[in-house]
Assembly symmetry: C2
Homo-oligomer: 138 residues x 2
Amino acid sequence: MAHSHDVPADLTRNQGLVMGALNHSVGPLSAYDILDKLRADGLRAPLQVYRALDKLVERGLAHRLESLNAFVACADEHCHRKGLIAFAICEGCGKVDEFADAVIEERLGDWAQAKGFKVERTTMEIRGKCEVCVAQAA
Amino acid sequence: MAHSHDVPADLTRNQGLVMGALNHSVGPLSAYDILDKLRADGLRAPLQVYRALDKLVERGLAHRLESLNAFVACADEHCHRKGLIAFAICEGCGKVDEFADAVIEERLGDWAQAKGFKVERTTMEIRGKCEVCVAQAA
DNA sequence: TTCAATACGTTATAGCATAACATCGCCGCA
DNA sequence: TGCGGCGATGTTATGCTATAACGTATTGAA
Ligand SMILES: [Zn+2]
Ligand SMILES: [Zn+2]
Ligand SMILES: [Zn+2]
Ligand SMILES: [Zn+2]
């Protein structure tokens, strides 16, 4: 879960706190999870967290996992250069693996072009068990 | 929005009502949307809708769109034979196009095998504008 | 008939997200 | 220096999404 500690310095206080919470978590956190972790730092209302998350997601420092209603720190410094990002979410340990695949993206582009569909955003989330958890279950 | 009217006959009353609501909608419906449409038929509580939806999704007659917290009728009679299904959701008119792509699925399988990840379920949702809505915007 | 499985109905509650409004601090500019 | 815009913040209230917990009813075998 390589989390990048070289966080941009121009984050606001709340943004920094939220980013820190995400960076120090092994798995995704809901906005309310984050809020609970940050009450000691003075945060009190969900909106404070949501507003920070909006900015972080906008800047590509964090991602929203639609299928979990939760958020993770971006694990790939350069993911904003890539188009489609996929997430593999382990139901066992909660870890999230982030990856990009040019072939899938191209294939999707082909489909869109054929249909005249203008893609604005794609979410791809794979649920299952990671290697470690598969081994443990056996 | 080809909705299949040859719905299985063994649905329960509530399941049938919910399926009907989905079939007659041009776009996705939230559970609460469905509830409102079915109050006249006697449904009163969210749980009645959610329980029906669970069964319908389980049988592949409906799909849940994670990025919308909403549900659509399955548009492809044979989609349960296919693996990965993708949804293209138009932000303009709300229509949803359901399709399967073997290449994407294979590519995903390759990634999973390389990583030792055991895939259980995949959601792929593309947000954007359909051909009609793109034309209108121009 | 008896039992188990499934569906149903109802109330209450938990979890996720945003509206609306006031305030504050920063920075560019008259 | 003082004004004014803008973005971030703080706070309260509210709305939307989903499930827990309980009891009843129906069905369909053994
Ligand atoms: Zn990323
Ligand atoms: Zn795992
Ligand atoms: Zn389908
Ligand atoms: Zn459209």
